[in-house]
Symmetry: D2
Subunit: 341 residues, 4 copies
């Protein structure tokens, strides 16, 4: 079927290529003409403006936005005057699900349809395809099935879950209508919350392994340093590239994130290219806020998020307070120099 | 090569079968004669006693213990009188790595060798094979390579990590000599610590999804209940079997643990067979103790462990204290009945 | 000066009494006539309706609302038609600071003033007085100083902080203008977030003490139960009423919350009156949401909140997922019965 | 009664002064002669050697060790040859309770008595006296009561807990026999674990207040930075010295630790003297290990400890792993520069 894509960054462009490869007709638009041109050469129908874009499409249109979450509202505002009743706008970015609910109302009032699609797969999605979590009206989502099926990995991407047989459900192909407006991004939000937790579990564990040689390090003997009672039990020099590699086969903790970790460690076992200042996008924060609204305990997911905050220096003042308290009650002076502790 | 297996439970028996299928000669022993007999019928050499077992083996012997961690010391004590210098004893269970260090010393004083092997794969290992993390003397471990290679999944079990080529390293086949005595179980210990963290991340996230309908529930309006400010944002009925299924293909959080979760939810979306009383084996506890000795922060791994403690009622008294404090300063009386909060 | 109080529950009534004792003139109102009557007998000027109340006051009026957070908006709506320009409305309850900002705008548009006051002290405040955290226009807050000074504990309630001398600052008397609208409740919100963290620290620690006898308990020996390696180190029967009592004098962890804990344990060392189902009011949740917006890590404050959620069964489904995963990969069956673990 | 003190650092010296002021006779010893001399001038009986010290004492002797935990064993070894049956050795430092159990056995085999005393109060104890948590044989501890009573703050240091009357229990005077050998240091260990939790709760909360102005800061707009949806709600410049001061009077979170925090902030609101590198002594680590052995969840106490580890850079490698993973799956490049996030 015909689809137009607005936003031809890495994600948008590779989605267009995948759709065309599966026989779909793509009209593409971006503020950067060079990106449009590149896809035009590969068979897409380029458009110089939104007006041009909609003119090139049969009605009712399906228009996919693949732009940063921060400018979706602006993009919608520019797009809306060009839309006709029955047209569908799909937000495939990382929007907050509450924005979806609001936008769907606005578009609905004008006779348009809105579909939110949480997309997982990252830049690797070019090869691995995309996992799609979809929110919106059932009938509209159904109409877009050929598009979703083309972007998703398909049944063969994973062994079939025991107990599932017959015609594969859409989830088994890698896309799912999760519920009404916002449901797609809600599920993607929690997906990312889980992602942070998984990443933190690996990172913490590997840090424990890396420091299994702590018994070999010289240790300061003063009242500010806890003695290591049994240095003889911490004499291991662990080879993290090999350990993450061995876990990839047969172990309970195998995963795609582990594959990536093994890959990064294979390039450089010290991870020297990274300083450890870790950004967070919004989804994990929103997951915690949802958890709190729902009164659902999320010790692990919160801790994973806070570790990222802390990596960026956001705990520094709290730590200064601790040092100040210690000085007040015990006369403790901060140790400035490092060394094993 | 020849190997004897002591302990023919699910893990031990399936390892023997796998070894025989790869052409190795197995002498088997268990206190339950029926288990010995079963494997004897499949081609193993059964033994009625430890004396009988060692008599059937060429020297130097390789003897694999696959018994509960709690009885390894007892098994070793019974076995040692039958050993000759140069014999190798392998502990393939879930021993604490500090016990390995001690046992290796004891055996070494008598001229025997000790090898610790952390084995991941669970009951599914029958089909998936085992991921083996090995500690001990390099030369001894090298001698056992044919056994490890037969038990491990092999190179083809996962796509090769970018940057790795040529003859596959042992880690790429699914087994790894991690370091001296105890190193195998140390790596397995941290592996399990990570496992708990991963499991908790999925569990917490799915709980957030399950409660995405909290806005539909009637809520008590009293000073003891926090009002939900925006019930309109929590109106989703999430289908967890389908959501975990869709994540299996193309998403960043795909993993074997996710496959298992999808499988469990496919059987019963309410998980009605489970009450949520979660045991923990020792490895996660030891991981935290190692982290503390090393001064490595493990917020996520600890939280995952504590959630299991709490699931078994171990926080009850702490909660009673909180209620008592609230009563003392605010006259708050505990709410006995449920309802959304 | 003259003040009217709307809402004569425990907090409102005792504030009126305190104000009258300090020579202020109080006009009181409540939907329950009996509460009005009671204070009238003690010297307050009772009012049968809001119209009656405002009629009894000199302009510009100062009206203090001491009603549940959930009905403040409703109370304001009923009150506004009776107000004149320059009148001040004070919300002394537990409002969300964002509501303060909104309400202040609404009132300001009509020429009224709004002041938010976070009040700590609980039911004990009758004797201990109240700690007041105030938000609003500086000039308006200044005008109310006699009221705040009368409600607050005064300088003598604590030893003076070293470095402070001369005329005592308002903070040293127990009340503080924290900033513009909402600042009072913002500070109170974080105050309560801290309170949950403090309470949890005591509760967790006392739980560790209570279980210091775990080595005396019979322990199941199976693969689902982690063995206690050194029962000989857990043979203590700790006397919690005496321990919390001894900490009250000279220790670093002395506090009013500890005093209350000692008091509760003195009444019943088993806290048999409490089941451990712990409510949370909204402030701690809002504190976490603010922390997340600010990217400030709050491991401890979040954990304290989640422990309350968990005490009410909100982690049950997450735990069922853990049990289901364990069954899938390891064939583990949940242990139903208790016993030390 | 007569007591000798070994170790005349700040704690030891001030204890001697306090004992002498209450009429006790002190024999003092230290490797630094100047410290001995100083107390000698104030009335203590100085000793040039351990032999000299014991010679100056009547039997059975009571000898208090106030030396760093790391050298207690060494001090005991030097002391033991000089002891006679019935002599009592008191360890008033921060020993691990398991060492107490071991030492008590060693001393007992030679006919000596051992008493462990956990001492809280810090350097401030000179003025505030000490809270004493005591382990050992009941009869021996009873014999030392005059010493404990002299060091402890006494009944008047806190209002009496409701329900307590008649002759004050020892806990009400500030010292407590907690149980057999090790019980004193066990209770002190948990005391310190709680202390870390309390400190972290204040520190985190104050950090949230400090950042209540985050809406005023310029924010980068890129995919690596989570947008702040409502900057208008974070426009507060909080005055932390005044806020901690106001909480000292009448609030639920009043405590000695809060007093100290207010004092530190009064000196310098930015805490410019501190970098935020926070040491930890061993007690909190041992508390977590005890909690894990007991299967008691300690989310808050662990988080407080881990925050200290992290303040010293111990999470850096874990964070590098997170950055590396993000680069692998999303092509994310670390943001090097700061700015509000």
């Amino acid at each position: 079927m015909q689809l137009s894509m607005i936003g031809l960054g890495r994600m948008g462009s590779s989605m267009v290529r995948r759709l065309m490869a599966k026989g779909h007709e793509c009209v593409v638009h971006d503020t950067q003409a060079a990106l449009v041109l590149a896809l035009q050469k590969e068979g897409a129908s380029g458009s110089a403006s939104l007006a041009d874009m909609v003119a090139k499409m049969a009605r009712p249109r399906a228009i996919w936005l693949m732009v940063p979450a921060a400018i979706v509202d602006q993009a919608l505002e520019q797009l809306m005057p060009h839309l006709d009743p029955g047209d569908i706008v799909i937000d495939g970015g990382n929007s907050y699900y509450r924005d979806d609910i609001r936008r769907a109302k606005t578009l609905s009032a004008r006779g348009h349809h809105y579909v939110d699609v949480g997309t997982s797969g990252g830049v690797a999605g070019v090869d691995r395809s995309y996992c799609l979590m979809i929110g919106g009206e059932a009938e509209v989502v159904a109409r877009l099935t050929p598009i979703f099926a083309a972007l998703a990995p398909g049944l063969e991407a994973a062994p079939r879950t025991p107990g599932r047989d017959g015609a594969p459900a859409s989830a088994e192909q890698g896309f799912l209508h999760c519920g009404p407006h916002g449901a797609g991004h809600f599920v993607k939000m929690v997906h990312n919350g889980i992602e942070y937790g998984l990443m933190a579990a690996y990172a913490e564990g590997l840090n424990v392994l890396k420091n299994a040689n702590v018994g070999q390090r010289a240790r300061v003997l003063d009242a500010e340093t806890t003695p290591l009672r049994h240095p003889e039990f911490y004499q291991y020099e662990m080879n993290l590239p090999e350990i993450t590699e061995v876990w990839r086969r047969g172990s309970v903790i195998g995963s795609w994130l582990l594959d990536l970790t093994a890959s990064a460690l294979q390039k450089n076992a010290q991870l020297a290219a990274y300083s450890g200042r870790v950004s967070d996008s919004g989804e994990s924060r929103w997951t915690i806020e949802a958890a709190i609204d729902e009164a659902v305990p999320t010790h692990v997911l919160s801790a994973a998020l806070y570790e990222r905050f802390t990596s960026r220096g956001e705990a520094d003042f709290a730590n200064q307070i601790l040092s100040a308290m210690r000085h007040e009650f015990g006369g403790h002076v901060e140790k400035k120099t490092g060394g094993a502790q």
